[in-house]
Amino acid sequence: LRFLSKKGAAFMYSSLFRKLAMGVLLAVSIPLTSPAVAAMSAESPAEVPGSLGMQQVGVIVGQVTDASSGAGVSNVSVYLVALGIGALTNEEGRFRLERVPSGDHTLQLERIGYAALTQVVSVPAGGTATVNFAMQMETVRLDEIVVTASGEMARREVGNVIGSINVPTLTEKLDFTDISQLLSGRTPGMQVIQGTGTLGSGAIVRVRGINSMSLRNDPLVIIDGVRYQTGEMVATIASLGSTALSQLNPNEIESIDVIKGPAAAALYGTAAANGVLVVKTKRGVVGPTQWSAYMTGGINQQTADWPDNYQSWGRNVGQTTPIHCRLTMASAGTCMVDSLTTFNPLMNKETRPFANQPRFVYGLQARGGGGPFTFFISGEVTDDTGPYEMPASEVARITEIRGSPPRDNQIHPNQMRQYAFRSNFDLEITPKARTRVSVGYNDLELDQPFGGGGGYFQGLLMQTVRGPGYRTARNGNAVQWTGDILSVEINTREKRFTGGLTTEYEPFPWLRLRGTGGIDNMSGFASTMQVLGEGVVTGWGRIVGQQGGRYVRREQKTRYSLDLGATATWDYSQDLGFRGSAGAQYFQDQMYRTWGDGFTLLPGASTISAASDRTVGEVTAEEATYGAYVEGGVNYLNRLFFTTGIRTDKNSAFGMRQGSVFYPRASVSWVVAEEPFFPFKDFFNDARLRFAWGMAGVQPSSTAAIAFYSSSLVPHLGSVLPGLALGSLGNADLKPETTTEYEFGLDLGMLERRLNLEATYFYKKSQDALVSVALPPSVAAGTSQFQNLGEVKNTGFELAVDGAAMRTSLLSWDIRVSGTFVKNEIVSRGGVPPTMTQGARLVEGYPINGLWARPILGWNDANGDGILTENEITVGDTMVYRGPQQVPPRQFILTNNFNFFDGRLLLLAQLDYNAGHFTQWNMERDRCGATMNCRAVNDPTTPLKEQAAAVAFSSSALGRTPWGYMVPKDYLRLRELSLVASLPARIVQALPVASASITLAGRNLWLLWTDYPGLDPEAQYTVPASGTVIDYDWFSEPPIRTWSLRVNVNF
């Protein structure tokens, strides 16, 4: 809140934060014990309410409405600046402040998206003051509070663009199932790549492109001041990919600020080069306890139109034995085609393993407080079932074999139960000191279908999409039964605790100290289990035809955060002010994992202890960072702001010869519209120019710098003994990748702020990029070594346009266009040559993992038989660049918000357009080049383009080029559609509720257009965590479509 932020002045930095911590603690303890300070506090009116009699206090009530539509505006922060008393408006925009001392008070109103309001209110002793407000929408939010590394600041003071997401207004209207959905399309420059169509698979977030060829490109996430772990969930069986970010419950979040690049993130230091998401969870407000309950019921759907499997039947010349006679063989005359059959085990209703499944969410929240204490408490239960179901034919088959039906988690192999709790408490210790406690707990239990463990020819989709084109004994599968595959149970249990304690102390009006300590702990257990006698599924374990096996993994990941800072201000004159900040941080990551597996289980056994073939393992990884920063700023006339600062970091993952690294930054923000000379004041309500420059880093993996020997087991003389070998050369000179960014921007507000524009150009270059250099095998020192050799560049343009398209008493229509243009380029590989393999490559002058292949130049069906053979296709001699992949270079999000009947009925729709990128359509490539069950190699009516792709990939003479399967995946999708109806006031008044609404929301809806020839442009095998992981369509389900009906009730 704004009354917590204000200004500061220079405070000298010291890197030795531990003593700084002691200093802060001492400073905090002073007001608790010092009589002088206590006496001073007694003079403060903020401490008066609790001691006043009823005749000396009054009540303020009122309603806040949208100035344009007249609809009530919820979640407006209404507070008395001097007293620290505040409340949030309810769904109808109503608020109530109790126990307000009589007299005149300044009431301030703030809400993201609206211009702040201030008004003096007279409160009668023992009476009620009623005051109503009409707030103007304000898309360019120059006076809004945003979070930076050195504390909260007004947006106008910051020389960077910071994307802000007001979460409560979205969660009730769109019913997110996952945090990634909340982030998708909300701010330019932040791109969310969907996970696969299985519950528990994670999406990824990329901010301003891909910085690193070798390291993870995830942004840093900070929740209530505590660093939150992203990346993989601790214990998930990795084949489906997952992200720990998905454990963050959107319904608990108040706001998310997106700090997009090093120009803004420099003071976050090492780990911040990929941007920073600053998350604030909901907090309590003074006043009567406000209860909110919500319930969601919905369905999950898998709507993909899966391809048919084909088989062209024939016989060799002069023989009668039926064989698979492919088109090219028939064209060559080696066999003759008799018939063509097709079968589709994923679409045939007797064999289809997909079905619509339910999802339920129940949540209850309370917020309130009195005197110096406020609270927010939230609990949520999710019971979600992924869109899988063992087909009835398989249930019957298994029931007959086992004598009992499959268990529920085998029939419905993708289930998720999640319990999320949050308790946030704020305590005003003295008028000058307050402390905040934030505690989140999440308990996740997840079942996932057997995806094959990342191996070849395994898992549900491999077995079905690679089926032979007729209904075999295994119901059209390749070699394994669907029921047996789904009988392999994959379970993950993950508990997460995130807690933080923040204390702020303002010993003097010009100095504010703060300290945050926190912990984010994930504790997980995962298992894969195949019970003895429940089928044979090749593809995991070590023993063919194994009868029972189990894999278990237990893991703990903990991140400790300590963040200390001070901000001071000095108003030299009315026109000129200075602001200074200093801070120090310490972070430590710990990961402890043990795993074991056992195969050939005994009857009735369900632990690896009962297995005859067992292995175990243990992994430990620790990493620590300390750093500190100083920052100084100058404010001239509250419209010209200059800020500069520097941060230094040292990290345990750096090489032993690498010292501290430094990340400087500087920014300028000029609210030019407030200059007297600005000539277009009638047209532009707001105009701001901004520029920022800064550096940030990403540290190498925790052990990349270390030379070490590794152990492995060796059978010798009938025993298995441990042996040692040089595992890695290490790199004593290893240092972080450092990204430098320049950012220029313009913010405009026009037509009484009904049209607002935010435009930003950025240029950032990652230097000392880590390149995994393949080592010559002859030296036997591991396969590769990370070296700081490369350079990667990202340039781009971001555009956000908000407009009030229509304002009538019946309908208000708001439009938001969010555009992202980003170009990624490897500037240098440091002299390390790229691989010569066709596919995704790291080539200088081209994007990270751009696609390369020998091009198919043309084809000519010379003999006119409708079948292409290799001598009828022309392929280029050398590889050429096909296009970029991973994140789309161009993205437009169009969000429409239709508001009917003064807000009683809302219709929201979001269109998502992505363009300019390619992918490897490897599923079809594999079906045509290996399984030989695709249409292009079996059906003579297949278009020649598809035949050319298949033949070229299968032909050594044509270089086995995958060119025909490197395909564009531009698309336009209706991402979100939501209809929200608020209960009319007369009905609300008749019920014991303050407000209520019903939301019907759909997500991942219709693909309105695409040039992608495969299943779905968003189907991808894995989520590309780092530059080294390649995105491709490989037997993966497209994202789940969900429909939800959500009821929100506020008491």
Binding site: A10, F11, M12, S15, L16, F17, R18, K19, L20, H324, M329, Y456, F457, P468, V479, P507, L511, R542, I543, V544, W570, F599, D613, E618, A624, Y626, K650, I706, A707, F708, Y709, S711, V714, P715, H716, V720, L721, P722, G723, L724, A725, A774, L775, P776, P777, S778, V779, A780, A781, T783, T835, M836, T837, G929, A930, T931, M932, S954, S955, S956
Partner: protein, 452 residues
């Protein structure tokens, strides 16, 4: 008073800043970066007898990996020749000998590991093990494996095999790669060194070194010297590489039994892979029902391509079955070949002696009468006695190099049974990553030549 001064006067603020800075200054923050790496074993741990022994154990594992680990010589060499065919879905360049992707070359990495590891183990054992027969045996063991590894590599790879190592943390390379003949010679040197250090009591290891040396000499076309080397090796001798589930797992088990990727063959070549009536150049490993090649018939599954029939190899149905690397049978076969090359008459007696005494169910062979047929018979006997033991690739090369056969008559050729034709590359190439050498190191550009 205090707050007034500090609050109102810039000097007061500066004073406060200085006080706070003094509070937090003065200790070493690097202590905060002390983290644990318990998974990693540092150089210091190697400098003990236990560490030296652990290096030795790993070298034994490296040999097992080279011989029959994942995509090791016993598997890839068998695909390359006529011993196995691929039932994989995707194109198998080993089976087709086409478009050979060097980045798939795992064996070269295994061999480099073996060579460097055995050298490190010998160095460590020399320093840290107490003198005595145990130390000599262990050092001799390392040298014998190193020498045999060179023989295996020279049998499969082109001329142009690079040698590198780590010295004082830096990569060091020999100036020029070795031809395969140079590698055979180097292998003989190492095997002689093993024999020099191995005590007489280490009978099996000495026999391993002798058979391996003879094998190298045979490849160098010095059959009489080879025969002389193995004369003392008893026919009953066998030396096996060990495998275990969860440790070094048998590659043949993985790729045939577990995953159904590969299958034994019958007369592979000319479009055939398992028909007894085929006209391929390969040997009829399945249909003759020879007891030396224990194959379950009919096939037990189809390959991952959905069509190729996969036959079960009964000697490779478990991940921990040991596999013979060298034996007294091989010693007698070397003697038989030397005799045949010398125009002698005992070669057939030797072959029939083995058939009569070392296995049941085989009748005696008769002399086919012609020189070519005698060679064919001898090499068939070698192929059957030493099926899937990484001998066949070397034998095929010797048939071309030493016996003047056409490669297209020796290797499966003509139409490939999955479409297209067999390619004409007959030797493996070192891993292309070998070119990634630091500045100043001798450049590696690949094979000197691809001659058989």
């Amino acid at each position: 008073m205090r707050s007034g001064f500090i609050d109102s006067h810039p000097l007061g603020r500066a004073l406060l800043v200085l006080l706070l800075s003094a509070t937090v200054g003065g200790c070493s923050p690097d202590d905060l970066l002390d983290v644990e790496y318990p998974d990693f074993i540092t150089e210091a741990a190697i400098g003990t007898s236990a560490g030296a022994d652990a290096l030795r154990i790993r070298a034994i594992g490296d040999f097992a990996q080279l011989f029959n680990g994942n995509m090791a010589l016993a598997t890839t060499g068998a695909l390359w020749t006529d011993e196995l065919a691929s039932g994989r879905q995707q194109y198998d360049f080993f089976d087709n000998r086409a478009n050979y992707r060097r980045d798939w070359d795992i064996s070269f990495r295994h061999w480099s590991n073996l060579r460097n590891q055995s050298l490190r183990a010998v160095e460590a054992m020399t320093s840290f093990l107490p003198d005595g027969p145990d130390k000599s045996t262990k050092i001799g063991h390392m040298k014998a494996l190193d020498g045999l590894g060179m023989v295996l590599m020279a049998e499969h790879y082109c001329s142009g095999i690079p040698i590198g190592r780590i010295e004082d943390g830096k990569m060091v390379f020999d100036e020029t790669p070795l031809t395969y003949n140079q590698l055979f010679e180097l292998g003989i040197q190492q095997l002689d060194a093993a024999l020099a250090v191995l005590p007489q009591s280490a009978t099996d290891l000495r026999n391993l070194a002798l058979v391996s040396k003879a094998r190298a000499l045979l490849n160098l076309d010095r059959p009489s010297e080879a025969a002389a080397v193995v004369v003392s090796v008893p026919t009953s001798f066998t030396w096996k590489a060990e495998f275990a589930s969860g440790a070094v797992q048998s590659g043949l088990y993985d790729w045939i039994e577990t995953s159904g990727n590969y299958t034994p063959t019958n007369r592979e070549g000319n479009g055939n892979y398992d028909s007894c009536d085929g006209t391929g150049q390969g040997l009829p490993y399945i249909c003759e029902g020879d007891p030396r090649i224990r194959i379950q018939r009919p096939h037990f599954r189809v390959g991952q391509d959905g069509t190729t029939r996969i036959y079960r190899l009964l000697d490779h149905t478990k991940p921990n079955y040991s596999i013979t690397v060298a034996s007294g049978i091989e010693a007698r076969l070397i003697e038989a070949e030397a005799n045949l090359r010398a125009g002698g008459s005992t070669w057939l007696t030797i072959l029939n002696g083995l058939r009569a005494t070392m296995i049941s169910g085989l009748g005696p062979l008769s002399d086919p009468g012609t020189e070519k047929a005698r060679v064919d018979l001898l090499f068939k006997e070698r192929a059957y006695w030493m099926y899937l033991t990484a001998h066949r690739a070397g034998d095929m090369r010797r048939l071309v190099r030493q016996y003047g056969r056409q490669a297209s008559d020796v290797y499966p050729s003509g139409a490939f049974f999955k479409g297209g034709t067999y390619a004409t590359q007959y030797v493996f190439e070192p891993h292309e990553a070998e070119a990634n050498r630091p500045d100043g190191a001798p450049e590696f550009v690949g094979c000197i030549n691809l001659q058989i």
